[in-house]
Amino acid sequence: MATLLQQLINGLVLGGLIALIALGYTMVYGIIQLINFAHGEVFMVGGFASLATYSYVLPESWRDHGHWPIALPLMALGGAVVAVVLAVAMERLAYRPLRNAPRLAPLITALGVSVILKEAVRLWYPGATAPVPFPRAFVDEQFRFQLGEGTVTIGATAILMIVVSILGAIILQTYITRSRMGRAMRATAQDPDTARLMGVNPNRTIVLTFTIGGALAGLAGVLYGIHITNVDTEVGFLYGIFAFTAAVLGGVGSIKGAVIGGFAIGLIKTLSGQYLPGGTQYDLVWIFVLLIVVLVFRPQGLFGEPERVRA
């Protein structure tokens, strides 16, 4: 019982992180039908950027744990800013020139960009060939509850992770449905040409999309850092795949889908590791099996727009 609850919590935390990243995937896909493979790396870079903010920007005196109320926001800012710049630069330099190119071109480019980013950090961030320790710049508390004879633990950072991811999704959703730019986004996603006729500037909208996606990824980077307390060049790919899977599972293009997909994957990973044959060594397999099953019976994903036949 305690174990189940514990694993549920673990799943939710992991899910929250994945959801934050998945939002970026899903928004970009929704608007330019591009699977931005490099998005996972943006998240990774966000993590390193916030770490750099801590160790190179933050004055010595504020690095002790007591100053986290100053440090954390600063780090989050650093991470988000760099991630945004990166994401936008990516769009501008790598993807925009391929706007009308064959569908495969941007996809391969994305793969290339992700390799470049990962390598750049590995080569040029001091000590990044191995995982780099990350300060827990937040309430370093573990809350424990007795449950039966087992105890359930949830860390402050874990709570923060869940809260932020859900808040982020809600804010994003409202922004997209309520605000003017949000409407522009949806319009562009629906039909770029018409949107242009309606006076929407597609390029601006697309840049905005990448900006939001990047910001969320950067934020995820910080949260990941303070929660896991180290950051590594490999995480980009790993969580990128998770998030990508989550986005597809939920139906690429749908905010709700991304979030639910994210949590679903988090839960499957932990629960399958706990209760399914093969245990933790096959959790990845279970995730993918579920994905395939869902796609076979519902090709557009759980909340995706159904495909239309043209004739």
Partner: protein, 581 residues
């Protein structure tokens, strides 16, 4: 969006009047640059090659290596002005070649030696060869920009068969020699020759320039036209030429091994080319089929760790491997009945990861798990163990040559399969699906069957390659089949040209040879790989040897520098219409 500098429109900014001065001046400068010293002092790793560290006009007849290349480029550039050729095309090619050579030989001393002193002046010695040559190259490129590019002249391909044969033989042999030269550029590198990397790169730039020029005057087009006309003859000659490689300077154990690995990847890439290039189905987990083939073969090889201790003859094992891989291919392909376009990417990626996990956890005791299946014996036919060296009469052939021969045969076979399928009812069906799935169905094509067939056949070929892989590598471990390998395979297909028959082979060759030649920079291997992917997609998404259809499209433009707008090829997999939205 910045267009590539050399776009069709030529972006005429330079007054035509300057054409000759720039062109001829550039040529002269190049000759001068070749004779000037390039490096002022000895670098830490010893003297820079080709006596680059010399005084002005030393030993002009001993000018060798990259300096000779620069000299030649310059001379040709001048000559080109006085003979009837599409001048601007030729100059553009030569110019870029020069820039390439110069850049490589400037940058390397710069970073390896000591700053600008190394390539300009260290007070006592002066060495402006590099900079002069660079300027020369730029001048040529500018000269090419003084007007729109001329169309590539079409030479008539209706020549007497014998002549055609002669031309083909000559050009293929030349190709062989060039390849051997490239492979051997800078020797085996390593501590023996610290400058192997730059030597190779600058040779590459030189060859690119020459090739561009030859294309500009329509020679390459003519030859490929001829080989299209005499397809079978070309194939035979090509195979023979390939088999002749061990007799060249590149006939070392090292290159035999590498070439065999290239062959394995090439065969696999061709299989992938059926799936991606013809049927237009993206697969990001393809290396799994290579792995399946390898594991099957390893288990029937009589290796100590094999699951079944029966040793089947290689051919039998290979066939079983191919069949098993094929079956898995059909399974992986089955979701394509429902899943379309990009969604397929993640599904195939998932299958790839599942395979890796399964192999790592020694599923069913078939993969040896983390301990892999070591000591897979080499193939052994009629007492000839394939990893031994071979002596025919007097001359001793490098060890691994038999694997090389085997792989050449395999690749040739696979290419024939691909070609036959491509120009058949099935092939047309695949292309139709790639082009417009709904229309294809409206033409009575059972798209589901066709797609699964594509996966099945593709995977079969990969499995076949896997069987060779197992014996060649002598160990089969799950970590040989990571995601990055799938990406490499995909890159090979794209780089070569989707759906084109020689493409995949060329792509695989480049992607495996470059890291080998540039081992000095192995820290940056992946970085460069990523950059390559991005740049190819930006400037040459149709690949190096585009499929006939695409070539037809680009005939007027020629091989190089097509701005993406022009390349808006709708016939590429995953193009909007492949997925109905």
């Amino acid at each position: 969006m910045s267009k590539p500098t050399n776009s069709v429109t030529g972006s005429v900014a330079i007054p035509p009047g300057l054409a000759r001065p720039l062109g001829i001046g550039g040529g002269v400068l190049a000759i001068l640059g070749a004779l000037l010293p390039w490096v002022t002092f000895l670098l830490n790793d010893g003297a820079y090659p080709d006596k680059a560290t010399l005084q002005f006009f030393d030993a002009p007849y001993a000018v060798s290596g990259f300096r000779l290349h620069v000299l030649l480029l310059g001379v040709v550039a001048i000559v080109a002005h006085f003979i009837p050729v599409p001048l601007r095309r030729v100059l553009r090619a030569l110019g870029w070649g020069l820039i390439g050579v110069a850049a490589v030989n400037i940058v390397f001393p710069l970073v390896d030696g000591g700053g600008f002193g190394a390539i300009t002046s260290d007070g006592t010695n002066f060495a402006f060869g590099g900079i002069v040559s660079l300027i020369a190259g730029i001048a040529l490129v500018l000269a090419a920009k003084t007007g729109p590019l001329e169309p590539v002249p079409q030479w008539k391909t209706s020549v007497p068969t014998l002549v055609a044969y002669a031309v083909l033989v000559v050009s293929f042999v030349a190709l062989l020699l060039v390849v051997a030269m490239m492979l051997n550029a800078g020797g085996q590198g390593g501590v023996g020759n610290p400058y192997a990397g730059p030597i190779f790169l600058s040779l590459l730039a030189f060859l690119a320039g020459v090739l561009g020029a030859l294309h500009g005057i329509g020679l390459t087009g003519w030859i490929s036209g001829l080989s299209d006309k005499h397809k079978w003859f070309s194939v035979i000659v090509l195979v023979l030429v390939a088999l002749a490689l061990p007799f060249t300077e590149a006939g070392t154990d090292y290159w035999m091994t590498t070439a065999a690995n290239i062959g394995v990847y090439a065969a696999t890439a061709i299989g992938l080319n059926i799936v991606v290039g013809l049927a237009g189905l993206l697969d990001l987990g393809y290396v799994a089929f290579l792995g399946i083939g390898a594991f099957v073969a390893a288990n029937f090889s009589g290796a100590a760790a094999a699951a079944f201790d029966i040793e089947l003859p290689f051919v039998v094992a290979a066939i079983i491997a191919a069949v098993v891989a094929g079956i898995f291919g059909a399974v992986v392909g089955s979701p394509t009945l429902r899943v379309r376009g990009d969604y397929l990417a993640i599904v195939t990626l998932a299958f790839g990861e599942i395979f890796k996990k399964a192999a790592q956890n020694n599923i069913g005791g078939l993969t040896g798990g983390a301990n892999a299946i070591p000591n897979v014996p080499p193939i052994n036919w009629f007492g000839a163990s394939f990893d031994e060296s071979l002596t025919i009469g007097s001359l001793e052939l490098p060890s691994g040559v038999l694997y090389y021969v085997l792989i050449i045969v395999l690749v040739a076979l696979v290419m024939v399969v691909f070609a036959n399928l491509k120009n058949s009812r099935i092939g047309r069906a695949w292309i139709a699906i790639r082009e417009d799935e709904d229309a294809a169905r409206a033409m009575g094509i059972k798209t589901g069957q066709a797609k699964i067939l594509a996966f099945l056949i593709g995977a079969t070929l990969a499995g076949l390659a896997g069987a060779v892989f197992a014996h060649k590598t002598s160990t089969v471990a799950y970590d040989s089949f990571q995601f990055i390998e799938s990406v490499t395979l995909l890159a090979a297909v794209i780089l070569g040209g989707m759906g084109s028959i020689p493409g995949a082979v060329l792509g695989a060759a480049l992607l495996l040879v470059l890291p080998e030649k540039l081992r000095e920079f192995s820290d940056y291997r992946l970085m460069l790989f990523g950059l390559a992917l991005v740049l190819i997609m930006r400037f040459r998404p149709q690949g190096l040897v585009p499929d006939r259809h695409r070539r037809a499209e680009l005939a007027d433009e020629g091989a190089d520098g097509v701005p993406i707008e022009e390349l808006n090829v709708h016939d590429t997999p995953g193009d909007e219409k492949a997925v109905t939205r």
